[in-house]
Amino acid sequence: MAEEAIKLGGKKKSTFIDQVKGLLPDGGNLNLCLTCGACSSGCPATGLEGMDPRKFLRMAALGMDDEVLSSDWAWMCTLCMRCIYVCPMKIDIPQLVFNVRKSRPREERPKGILGSCDMALKHDTCSAMGASEEDFQFVVEDVLEEVRETQPGFENLEAPINKKGAEYFLNQNSREPVTEPDEMVPLWKILHSVGADWTYGTKGWAAENYCLFMADLENWEHIVRVKAKAVDDLGCKYWLNTE
């Protein structure tokens, strides 16, 4: 009965979920839902905005496009993929959510993520906190010098920058160089203790990429290209992701 009412309410011809299906291999299995609820019961976003993943999918399937597209819930799902992991039909709810994000005009997406994405486009460092090549190099060298001078046993500690042919190209979340540089030191000490051959790059060192989560494909791609080039330009064998 209630279901019928919802159907009637959403009767206008909808294409949003069909568009999304068109983008995904096997249509993301978006029309295979068994309504078992496994997704919702293990989703921490269940209940926020009166929504849960099963309901979100159902509303999209019923063509309730206005409700689905205007809901902030798409920004409260973290795209963690637990729902698809436990779903017996492997229904790609995260891709549905991602495309809902993408459908929002860029300037209307949440300001914080928008700002982080835009900031990362300012320099080839890809830092979402806007740290430049010079900023990064200065902080690393400054912290390194202090450790070498004061910490016994680490007079020869290294934090190489732009070292060609190093085995590992280490990335770093901007938070460390920008707000808590001492947190970089333990990692350097570990790499030093094992004799690892590593380097930072002034370009592409920042680990974060908010353009992905903002569903900004063009700039997500731009950032990945900048990073990939930075690693290949130095001829490093591995792009090493830190904690």
Partner: protein, 192 residues
């Protein structure tokens, strides 16, 4: 890392390098005896640790083998008997709510309501420390402890690895609690 790995595929970006995680290397270096960690410092103290399986690293990228490496490193550093699992865990773990841009999108109430699931999961372990080998997890789980007054600490593995080797300096202990603030400090030269 997820953004780069998936981006390289999705956008067909030619590249010569491979992607590696520091967790894999920690585990390899410990197995090979290159990274000389040990858990003696925690034999008497018996401080309990749990571990967050970051979605990006475990479920979304490397799967359960990564979760095993994470446990191998953790146990080597804090002692097997001092490690407590969250339930559920590994690829089945709940997201903490720090990912997907949630920390940046200006919705702190929703983010903390989402994170309450993770908070309860951590509190149920009774551990004093949650090891969070991902920046978003670290920030979010730290914030959850402060906001809900859980009293546990959120800590990176690099901190504990250096602590266990006696090479963690005074300024590198921001995220350690009082119980570990003075343990095996590498004091600076003037103070020795």
């Amino acid at each position: 890392m997820f953004a780069v790995r998936v981006g390289l595929q999705k956008f067909n970006i030619p590249h010569k390098f491979e992607i590696e995680s520091i967790i894999t290397l920690y585990a390899r270096w410990i197995r090979e005896g290159k990274l000389k960690v040990n858990s003696d410092w925690n034999k008497e103290r018996k401080i309990k640790f749990t571990v967050q399986d970051p979605c990006q690293l475990v479920r979304k990228t490397f799967g359960d083998p990564m979760a095993e490496d994470l446990r191998y490193v953790t146990k080597a550093v804090v002692g097997e008997e001092n490690f407590i699992e969250m339930t559920p865990n590994r690829s089945n773990n709940y997201c903490c709510g720090g990912g997907g841009g949630f920390l940046q999108n200006g919705m702190p109430e929703a983010r903390r309501a989402f994170g309450k699931v993770k908070y309860d999961q951590i509190m149920a372990t009774g551990a004093q420390y949650a090891i969070t080998p991902c920046h978003n997890c670290h920030s979010q789980i730290h914030d959850l402890s402060e906001y809900y007054e859980g009293g546990y600490h959120s800590v990176h593995l690099w901190t504990l690895i250096c602590l266990s080797m006696g090479i963690l300096g005074e300024n590198e202990r921001e995220y350690l609690g009082e119980d570990l603030a003075d343990v095996d400090v590498l004091y600076s030269k003037e103070e020795q």
